[in-house]
């Protein structure tokens, strides 16, 4: 009888896992993505309900246990619901980081609790996954909280480093793994505490040295970590749903990490070890107008835009930081109503997490077919009248095409192929790569020195007066 029941539960888990895969598959196009999310929700509800049924069937749970579950779901679910409903789209990366943190934390707690209950009774092979779960889950928990703090601006987004930091990190990692191996052999709660502490501190010291501009990579990596931790939790409690779901998330985080690192021309170890670039906090080192740079007034820029037949907008980190997505959409709408062909060139790392710029522009009601990926838009620059670059820097620097620079080989947008280029930027300061952008001294380029939000509003106003 019990065997039949278990089979049914396992089949429900299998159906849930299929829903997760199908849900992710439906995210291949924006048109089906919403259905994908609903399919995924259905799978989740089924898996949780099945787990509830399993717990009842085993008959071990106490009344207090039910109260604990009910209270936990109310408190956690309520907080999650509130945060999800109220978060601003610009703050999405922080929220994803927080969800990452609590997911990793929950996975670590499952393993900690399991270790406390079973201690030495379990086979060493199970203890290995238990300890991996504790370590990865704890690292993700503290690391994601630091990442969220940096994104929120509560912790400086500039890299925080001190001498010996790398050695310190290595020692922490060695402590977590070494003591972890020891407590597998001879169970000890104090040992487990040391492992947890070392992993938590490692999470902090791993993320602190990473600059704000590298955040897309870090968030992706932490996402992969959480997935792995959840899969390990699945090994610990022998639950296939957790193993499959965790592995799917681990894979997705891994792919996004690779894509982001490639798009920034960095290797993952290079980013994790830090020490290059200074994040987004670079403020006006050079004066507003260096040699060979022409600046332009709003009126003149407006004339170029209003009488162009094709304009490509290149939004970057600066646009996200200034929260200027609505202003750019207003300008684009105005130009389109005059018959100008407008599209957006989105570099893979534009924004603060993978695909962030697309979400910001979608929020400003920009139709997604106008958002072009790099490979698709690059050939179009040659037949474009004006490239309007807003707060994007390194991803437009032609120096990337030459060997021997800090960004050599990095995929860039071929902005300079357009007939003329207007750059909206606050100053001549460097991007995270810390080198001069040769685009700015190109004779075809005019610099419009302004904050993205204000500058765009001025441009829109000027175009309006111009065309009456």
């Amino acid at each position: 009888m019990s065997g039949t029941f278990n089979t049914v539960i396992q089949l429900i888990y299998l159906a849930a896992a299929s829903c997760f895969v199908l849900g992710l598959h439906l995210m291949n196009t924006p048109a089906t993505a919403r259905r994908g999310n609903q399919v995924s929700v259905a799978g989740m509800v089924a898996a949780i309900a099945a787990t509830g049924a399993l717990v009842i069937h085993e008959g071990q749970i106490s009344a207090t246990g039910w109260v604990v579950i009910g209270a936990g779901v109310l408190v956690g679910g309520g907080l999650g619901l509130y945060a999800a409903r109220t978060v601003k789209m610009t703050a999405m990366p922080q929220l994803v980081s927080i969800f990452n943190a609590v997911g990793g934390g929950a996975a670590a707690l499952v393993a900690i609790r399991d270790y406390m209950t079973l201690g030495s009774q379990v086979a060493a092979s199970t203890s290995v996954t238990t300890l991996l779960d504790v370590i990865i889950g704890s690292v993700t928990f503290s690391g994601s909280i630091i990442a969220a703090g940096k994104l929120q601006g509560m912790i400086t987004s500039a890299p925080v480093t001190f001498p010996g930091a790398r050695i310190g990190n290595l020692l922490l990692a060695a402590t977590a793994v070494g003591v972890g191996a020891y407590v597998i052999a001879s169970p000890s709660m104090i040992g487990l505490g040391v492992v947890i502490a070392a992993a938590l501190i490692f999470g902090v010291s791993m993320v602190m040295p990473i600059g704000g501009a590298d955040m897309p990579v870090v968030i992706s990596l932490l996402n992969a970590f959480t997935g792995t931790a959840v899969a390990m939790a699945g090994f610990v409690i022998n639950n296939t749903a957790l193993i499959i779901a965790g592995a799917l998330v681990g894979a997705s985080g891994g792919i996004l990490t690779k894509l982001m690192a490639d798009a920034m021309n960095r290797s993952i170890p290079n980013i994790m070890l830090g020490g290059f670039g200074s994040g987004d906090a670079v403020v006006a080192v050079a004066g507003p107008a260096g040699a060979g740079v022409q600046s332009i007034a709003a009126d003149d820029a407006a004339i170029q835009l209003a009488y162009a037949s094709k304009v490509i907008i290149v939004p970057g980190y600066g646009l996200a930081a200034a929260q200027a997505q609505h202003e750019v959409a207003a300008l684009a709408d105005l130009l389109e109503s005059r018959g100008v062909e407008v599209s957006y060139a989105i570099h893979p790392v534009a924004g603060r997490m993978p695909g962030h710029m697309n979400v910001l522009l979608a929020e400003a009601n920009v139709p997604y077919p106008l958002l072009k990926e790099m490979d698709e838009i690059n050939p179009e620059f040659a037949r474009t009248d004006v490239s309007l670059v807003i707060g994007a820097n390194d991803v437009t620097n032609p120096a990337a095409r030459r060997p021997g620079t800090a960004i050599s080989g990095m995929p860039i947008l071929d902005v300079d192929a357009a007939k003329s280029i207007i750059v909206i930027k606050r100053s001549m300061s460097h991007g995270y790569a810390g080198i001069d952008n040769e685009l700015y001294t190109n004779p075809k380029t005019s610099m419009f020195f302004a904050d993205a939000k204000k500058g765009l509003a001025e441009l829109t106003a000027s175009v309006k007066t111009l065309v009456g």
């Binding site: 992710l24 995210m27 291949n28 924006p30 993505a33 929700v41 989740m44 898996a47 949780i48 787990t51 106490s62 207090t64 246990g65 604990v68 579950i69 936990g72 779901v73 679910g77 999650g80 619901l81 999800a84 929220l95 994803v96 969800f99 609590v102 997911g103 934390g105 929950a106 707690l109 900690i112 609790r113 399991d114 406390m116 992706s220 996402n223 997935g227 699945g234 610990v236 296939t240 957790l242 779901a245 592995a247 799917l248 894979a251 985080g253 792919i255 894509l259 389109e336 109503s337 018959g339 100008v340 924004g351 997490m353 993978p354 962030h356 979400v359 979608a362 139709p367 106008l370 958002l371």
Partner: protein
Amino acid sequence: MLLTDFIIFVLSLWVGFEVISKVPATLHTPLMSAANSIHGIVLAGAIVIAATADNVVGYILAFVAVAFAAMNVVGGYVVTGRMLKMFKRRTAPAPASDASVSGKVAA
């Protein structure tokens, strides 16, 4: 048992790589958010440890685990849905250039 679990884990990784590498950059943020919700399945694990808890420490750990996981799963799905709702082909008050734009998309 462990070997079977390991086989499932590795095959699931491959399925994940295969499915996710086809997602366009436009949807990377919702994808990550959706993946985030999926790891909220750890709620099932949290429920299991709540069921076996029999002392104060056990209940406290279970409560925190359930609350964390519930926040993850509920918040994740809601915010993913909210984001995806914003992705539209063309907004209702279509500007004059609508025809030329859709023509370009088809091309």
